[in-house]
């Protein structure tokens, strides 16, 4: 090793792929060391903010199809671990760190209500670790590293969900369910990686993709694919594997639910996309069959069954949780079309649904803080008592349905476009029909908020500004991205192109 190769003399711009992931990881132990909840909040916010700025800068760098490659420890891939940023991950990185940055100011007052003060420092520590894990899963180009980060995010998520136990003891069983299912998912994923490693002898995704491309008929590769799809399917809550989701979303503290709903399943879907389109070739017969006979039927089932279940929920949080399962269905549907437009539909819905669900769950957190519960019977007539909060719910609800002029419309539009390109007109009809189910469950809540007589005996005031502002930042983002699709649609298209052009080059 000559010293020139060892000391490349990197500038701060070259370090961005790493810094975006490492900053939250550094902040987490610092929170514990300082042991003060105000400092912990500040650290979390700063780490998250800088992570967002770095991700955004990277997205601008890779918008024209470039790839940023960062070699950890100076070990060149395929031997060393590589962080590999292209349009697809930069976009998801931006979503995750951006949502986290908006949610943290909201978190202060919300957890002050839902969690005892003693645990606040540890809450921020776990939150940062979860953020690190999710960012790492997305940033890395090493298959085993994905698993490591996946576990970091999952383990901290279990703790975060269990913190809801102070308000409702059922959070403990929900967290335990999630623990079992999440662990099974991660185990399946790592078994799949093990199979692929045994065949290819490499863990670097680009290298793996090259070696797999000639191994279509290899049984071990096929088994590895099956394990990875099922494992990630559990993490992403694809319809029959979604059972952990309603419980943990319902009983977790509101901040955690808003954060997880907007980011955790999205990271899992990103990994699924990365493996299906970059590591494995979408032209493989077994993969095409998976798309056509497994993923598409399940996606359609999710769109209808989960939406139908959502219609009959009496707890607003659980209603939105089932709606999340249905929305994951749309993303999987986009993936299963295996076309450029389909893939961009999945990626853009990932973003649009992320911001939409974050608004809705933040509103639920605000309701919870004022009326003490999220059952619809507590919410009668809140539209008159908390008008600003309820208006945010309406905006989020419209975006969830996919009304023109909101972010949700754009993703449904691209998805329908993708279906029509494949001459699947019946699929386009099904997408519209399932959106009608969303109309029903959103209307159900709007009716409760605005049409029912409020309980005059209770005096309610709006939640503090530190909660209202983040909520409305995202609500306005829902509308903004419904009109200005330059950033979202362009990144999603570039991402889909780079994913489909023979994988990560």
């Amino acid at each position: 090793m000559d010293s020139a190769a060892i000391l490349p003399g990197l500038s701060i711009i070259d370090q961005l792929p790493l810094l975006a992931v490492v900053l939250p990881m550094l902040a987490a132990p610092l929170c514990v060391l300082f042991g003060n909840r105000h400092i912990a909040w500040l650290l979390a916010f700063l780490a998250s903010l800088f992570s967002f700025l770095f991700s955004f800068h990277m997205l601008l760098q890779v918008m024209d199809g470039d790839v940023l490659s960062y070699h950890l420890g100076g070990w060149a891939p395929p031997m060393g671990i590589e962080y590999r940023i292209d349009a697809a991950n930069a976009f998801v990185l931006m979503l995750i760190s951006g949502i986290s940055t908006v949610i943290l100011p909201y978190a202060r007052r919300s957890i002050a209500y839902e969690i005892t003060k003693v645990s606040h420092t540890l809450f921020y520590c776990c939150y940062l670790l979860c953020l690190t894990g999710l960012l790492g899963v997305v940033a890395t180009g090493d298959a085993f590293n994905v698993f490591v980060f996946l576990e970091i995010s999952a383990l901290s998520t279990y703790v975060l969900v269990a913190m809801g136990a102070e308000r409702d003891r059922r959070a403990l069983t929900a967290a335990y369910d999630y623990l079992i299912m999440g662990t099974i998912g991660a185990t399946f994923f790592v078994i799949g990686i093990g199979f692929l490693y045994s065949v290819t002898g490499t863990l670097n995704m680009v290298d793996m993709a090259e070696r797999i491309s000639t191994l279509e008929d290899n049984r071990t590769v096929q088994a590895g694919f099956a394990f990875i799809v099922v494992g990630m399917g559990l993490k992403a809550a694809i319809y029959p594997l979604h059972l952990w989701l309603p419980g943990s979303y319902t009983y977790a503290p509101s901040v955690v639910t808003a954060f997880l709903a907007a980011t955790a399943t999205k990271a899992a879907i990103y990994v699924l996309i990365r493996f299906m389109f970059s590591v494995f070739q979408p032209e493989f017969i077994f993969e095409l069959h998976t798309f056509k006979w497994i993923l598409m039927p399940l996606a359609i089932l999710a769109m209808f069954a989960a939406s139908l279940i959502a219609v009959f929920q009496t707890d607003l949080k659980r209603l939105l949780a089932y709606s999340s399962v249905a929305q994951v269905g749309y993303m999987i549907l986009g993936i299963s079309l295996a076309s450029k437009t389909g893939l961009s539909a999945a990626i853009i819905h990932l973003f649009n649904h992320g911001i939409t669900k974050a608004v809705l769950f933040m509103v639920v957190g605000a309701f919870l803080m004022r009326v003490g519960g999220s059952f619809t019977k507590y919410l009668n007539g809140l539209g008159k008592q908390m008008p600003i909060t309820c208006a945010a719910f309406v905006v989020g609800g419209l975006s969830l349905i996919g009304v023109p002029g909101t972010a949700g419309f754009i993703s449904k539009w691209v998805l329908i476009d993708a279906a029509l390109q494949k001459d699947l007109w019946w699929l386009a009809v099904l997408i519209v029909l399932s959106s009608l189910l969303a109309v029903i469950y959103v209307w159900k809540v709007v009716e409760v908020l605005y049409m029912k007589q409020p309980d005059e005996t209770r005096v309610l005031k709006e939640v503090p500004y530190s909660m209202l502002v983040p909520m409305w930042v995202l609500a306005i983002a829902c509308i903004y991205f419904g009109f200005d699709t330059d950033l979202t649609l362009r990144s999603a298209t570039v991402a889909a192109e780079s994913l489909l052009s023979g994988g990560i080059k």
């Binding site: 000391l7 990197l10 370090q15 990881m25 550094l26 987490a28 132990p29 950890l72 420890g73």
Partner: protein
């Protein structure tokens, strides 16, 4: 355990050698089998054994819970900090060679030793923290009521 003279004497004899053996495994990690994780686990075993025989209060006098929590963070910070230090030297994250550009091999040694020390501290304190968490739980049924 007041009556178990043998257990108490043997434990007192063993705690010291266990700690030394842990340090041996720790600082041989970069040459021979061993390293931070194993060393941390062995180090924690000394405290857990002491706790089992002499009681939770006694072991917490030696190694109070607040210290356990802080140390588990210190270890992670040491690991991550080693990486940040290499960033400050204008190199990639955790590129140990940058610690001593004239002699990269010795830089690699220093890097590994620091990182393994971080791992060892965190593993030892997390193991002890888990033991404390379980041992400090109030029994569901009181011993007298059996």
């Amino acid at each position: 355990m007041r009556h178990h003279l043998l257990l108490r004497v043997i434990t007192k004899l063993l705690v010291g050698p266990i700690l030394i053996f842990a340090l041996y495994v720790q600082f041989h990690g970069e040459y021979s089998p061993g390293g931070g994780f194993q060393a941390g686990a062995i180090f924690a075993v000394a405290f857990i054994l002491f706790g089992i025989v002499f009681g939770l209060d006694k072991v917490q006098e030696v190694f109070p819970p607040w210290l356990v929590h802080k140390l588990s963070a210190v270890g992670v910070l040491l690991y991550a900090g080693t990486g940040v230090y290499s960033l400050m030297l204008n190199s990639t994250y955790l590129n140990y060679s940058s610690f001593s550009p004239s002699n990269p091999i010795s830089g690699q040694h220093w890097g590994i030793i620091l990182v393994e020390l971080g791992v060892g501290i965190t593993v030892a304190s997390v193991m002890v923290a888990i033991y404390y968490a379980f041992a400090a739980r109030p029994p569901v049924i009181n011993d007298e009521e059996w």
